[in-house]
């Protein structure tokens, strides 16, 4: 008898049937996953004169440029966020075995999140306009810079008519898209939803802006060692770009077409800090803890079912500690059976796409029963009392298991997602 049977689950069961990604450590989901298991860093010094005088001269740029994969004419009408999303979405669709499958378009939805949307189009077009005048502003500019460009283009590609959404919650966006997709299926609005997140804002302005907030690591001489969640030497996060997309559908729909199921999207917990600061995490981790608890309740699970947490842990001095406390608070004594990891140590922080790529990492960890390591953890902070996976991947036990994916964003947004083995 599985955990969901015990709770007499009256709601539709939702499962993940396809994954796709383009990230700093791989141009596909499988290559990204292999790189994560191997402890590979995707952080590199930025090429180009524009980066030289910045306070931070490195970031996690994608491993494979979209221009290597997309048709040129298509790509020139897409902002980089939409380019990433299209690459990842097409891969996820094929991975779900949906190529040449006729879905009912009115039962197909999209929720692809972003933190800032088409910022590169906006900034680059402004440069062009100042140099060459208004006449040279492309008629495609607006559809390219609008934050919903990625979701909308994916919606058109796959003819999704049950609703196309772009949740925005800063660094929690990519997880909120999963929460939204889950609700779309449970509420009966859709049978299949393409969920995910995308971000592409590696450019002098966002780099300078995050640096001005003292949020970014300044380890310019050793970029691949800069993202070091929970390590005493951490000094801020590393900006990343990329996209991750998952196909989620109702269990019944997946079963009827014989789809391979990676894991169940068991529950989501979404809370907000409502505290004093827009950007400082609540040091008690209260909002984060409530989100994790809510996700478990929504999943019909208890802390005893949890074996793994993919932490938000961005490598900031305060954030990593606050979350560690929240994880302990939520899981109580069950913490002894839980291993934690931060894949941001390798991918950097993909902002609006982080929650999505980390959902893929959790789904594959459950499916393959192994958790990728956290790299650069040379000297763990004394205030962190968690079993963090380092070195080689950690095996997960047999039997039904639940894992959590945490994502927290500027603005006090907390999203915890609970996934369960099938």
């Amino acid at each position: 008898m599985s955990t969901s049977d015990i709770h007499g689950d009256r709601r539709t069961k939702v499962v993940v049937t396809g994954v796709g990604a383009t990230t700093p450590v791989g141009g596909t989901a499988p290559s990204t996953w292999s790189a994560l298991l191997a402890g590979t860093s995707g952080v590199r010094t930025l090429e180009g004169e524009w980066a030289i005088d910045l306070p931070v001269t490195f970031a996690a740029t994608v491993a494979v440029e979209p221009s290597e994969v997309l048709d040129r004419v298509e790509a020139r009408k897409l902002d980089r966020t939409a380019q990433f999303a299209m690459v990842a979405a097409r891969e996820a669709w094929a991975d779900a075995g949906l190529t040449d499958v006729e879905l009912d378009p009115e039962r197909l939805g999209v929720s692809i999140a972003t933190g800032i949307g088409g910022a590169l189009t906006l900034l680059n077009t402004w440069d062009l306009m100042r140099e060459k005048g208004a006449r040279r502003v492309s008629p495609h500019t607006i559809p390219m810079l609008m934050p919903n460009c990625a979701a909308a283009n994916v919606g058109i590609e796959f003819k999704a008519r049950a609703g196309v959404h772009t949740p925005v919650a800063a660094c929690a966006s990519g997880a909120e898209s999963m929460a939204q997709g889950l609700e779309m299926i449970r509420s009966g609005a859709a049978d299949v939803v393409i969920v995910g997140g995308t971000e592409a804002c590696i450019h002098p302005l966002p780099l300078a802006a995050f640096a001005a907030m003292m949020a970014l690591s300044r380890r310019n001489d050793e970029p691949s060692r800069a993202s070091r969640p929970w390590d005493k030497g951490r000094d801020g996060f590393v900006m990343g770009e990329g996209a991750a997309v998952l196909i989620i559908e109702s269990y019944e729909h997946a079963k009827a077409r014989g789809a391979r199921m990676y894991a169940e999207v068991a529950g989501a917990g979404v809370t907000s800090d409502g505290s004093d600061s827009l950007v400082q995490p609540d040091p008690t981790g209260a909002g984060a803890s409530r989100a994790m608890t809510a996700a478990l309740v929504d999943a019909g699970a208890t802390p005893a079912d949890v074996v793994h947490v993919n932490a938000h842990a961005t490598s900031t001095p305060q954030g990593d500690i606050a979350e560690a406390l929240a994880i302990r608070t939520t899981l109580g004594d069950s913490i002894d059976n839980v291993c934690v990891t931060s894949t941001k140590s390798m991918t950097g922080h993909l902002l609006g796409a982080a929650g999505a790529i980390e959902s893929i990492a959790v789904v594959l960890a459950i499916h393959e029963r192994r958790v990728p390591p956290t790299i650069n953890l040379d000297d763990p902070d004394d205030e962190v009392n968690l079993d963090i996976v380092t070195g080689s991947p950690r095996p997960l036990r047999d039997g039904p298991i639940v894992a959590l994916n945490n994502s927290f964003g500027f603005g006090g947004h907390n999203v915890a997602l609970a996934f369960r083995s099938i």
Binding site: R72, V73, R76, R136, P139, H140
Partner: protein, 82 residues
Amino acid sequence: MAQSEQEILSGLAEIVNEITGVAAADVQSDKSFTDDLDIDSLSMVEVVVAAEEKFGVKIPDDEVKNLRTVGDAVSFIAKAGA
């Protein structure tokens, strides 16, 4: 600088190919931009602006609707640049 209609045609074919992917060889004088070459209105604006830059001419927005075929555009550019 005056250019021959042939030079304008091949320059325009390059622009259309760059912006829409339509093969340069398909951009012939008798072809309609919308009906034969399947170029949508937003891309047409891009083609016009690129042509202005390439040939050093001005193509007013209200003139664009009169440029139905490739040949219409070539003649207009040739006259405007003369």
